[in-house]
């Protein structure tokens, strides 16, 4: 696998943790971040699925094969971000569900009001 340099800024205590953990695990810092990213994506992919327009089969990958999932998500994520989408927060999800439920109730009332 080709690796390139990526400079990112993050808290000092986490930089120290990264060095310690990489030494402890016997991995390079890059490998450790790669594993962490794959694990993060795998753990959250069900929350992304609908927003990214993926099927259940698309995301049905064992945690041991999380790397495959990252590859499958990449294009969908690029498209979603280009369309202004983002991973919704819990509050946004609740608001969306309530909005749709209210719309359904209004529709039911409207349909009931129409004479047969």
């Amino acid at each position: 696998m080709a690796r390139t340099t990526k400079s990112i800024r993050f808290a000092e205590e986490h930089q120290e943790l990264l060095k310690l953990l990489a030494a402890f695990e016997g991995l390079s810092e890059g490998e450790l971040v790669e594993h962490a990213l794959e694990s993060f994506v795998h753990g959250r992919v069900l929350a992304y699925r609908k927003t990214l327009g993926l099927s259940r089969d698309d995301v049905d990958v064992r945690i041991e094969d999380a790397g495959e999932l990252v590859a499958r998500l990449r294009d969908a994520m690029v498209r979603a971000i280009a369309e202004g989408a983002h991973a919704p927060s819990e509050d946004e999800i609740k608001a969306g569900l309530r909005e749709r439920a209210a719309a359904r109730r209004e529709q039911a009332v409207a349909e009931a009001a129409v004479p047969a």
């Binding site: 959250r44 069900l46 699925r49 609908k50 995301v59 049905d60 819990e90 569900l97 309530r98």
Partner: protein, 260 residues
Amino acid sequence: MIARWLTQRCRDEDVPRAVRVRPGLARLLEEQYSSSPLTDAWAGRTRADTWTWHHGDGRGVVWRDRDRDVLWLLCFADEHDGGYELGHALVDADSARDRLYPKLDPTYATSGGPTAAWEEFVDEDALEWLRFIHGAAEFFDDRQSDLNVGEPLEWRAAGVIRLALEDDLMKLTVGTRLVYADEATDRDRYLRPGEIEEVFLQLVGDLDDDFWEAHVPPYAHGYVNYLFVPPRPDAGAWLDARIAEIIAAKPRRGSDPSRV
């Protein structure tokens, strides 16, 4: 242990050959289990609390009789006294060991249980899955009064399923890890995302796709939350109806338990 002897193998391969015992078994089931439909041959096979087993030429069925709080073991065979012999074979000759079924499980070993690795017996995995869902539904049914006063319900078997009210919404949380307490072949594993979603959909039934969303907090590891709008205005009424469906072993439309 008996849970590993599943109905599907008996139904498909063995029961059609045991012609003579079928009427007797049906009568026995009718006497002991008055709510059995019986109009649908072997309808009980998909019930999560009912199991069949087979041994040699004999066939049997076991289920937990919740009304009487006993476990029924029925032995029957297409040969004279065969059922009795099977019944005796179920019990260890050494009564001090007080253990059932040592002769029935070809993988039996004193050092462990009979459970096998996942995907070794796919039909068994599927029924175990149904049993998991069924157990959760019954648990939620039993404790629904707690839910109504705002207490979350948490069902723990090999995995964890939690149900809570969130104002006008409901939240179902599914643990992503299956951990087995027995000493059998190590079956502990993580559920795949598709399986996690299947747990949710099997429990909630035909929920409109617009009315549920998965949510995983960034700090969360090991569980997935599902927020959803109960299909009826009254969450309690919906839960009652859905649980009744599950307990009657009515699968979700389009679902295929063998898939998992």
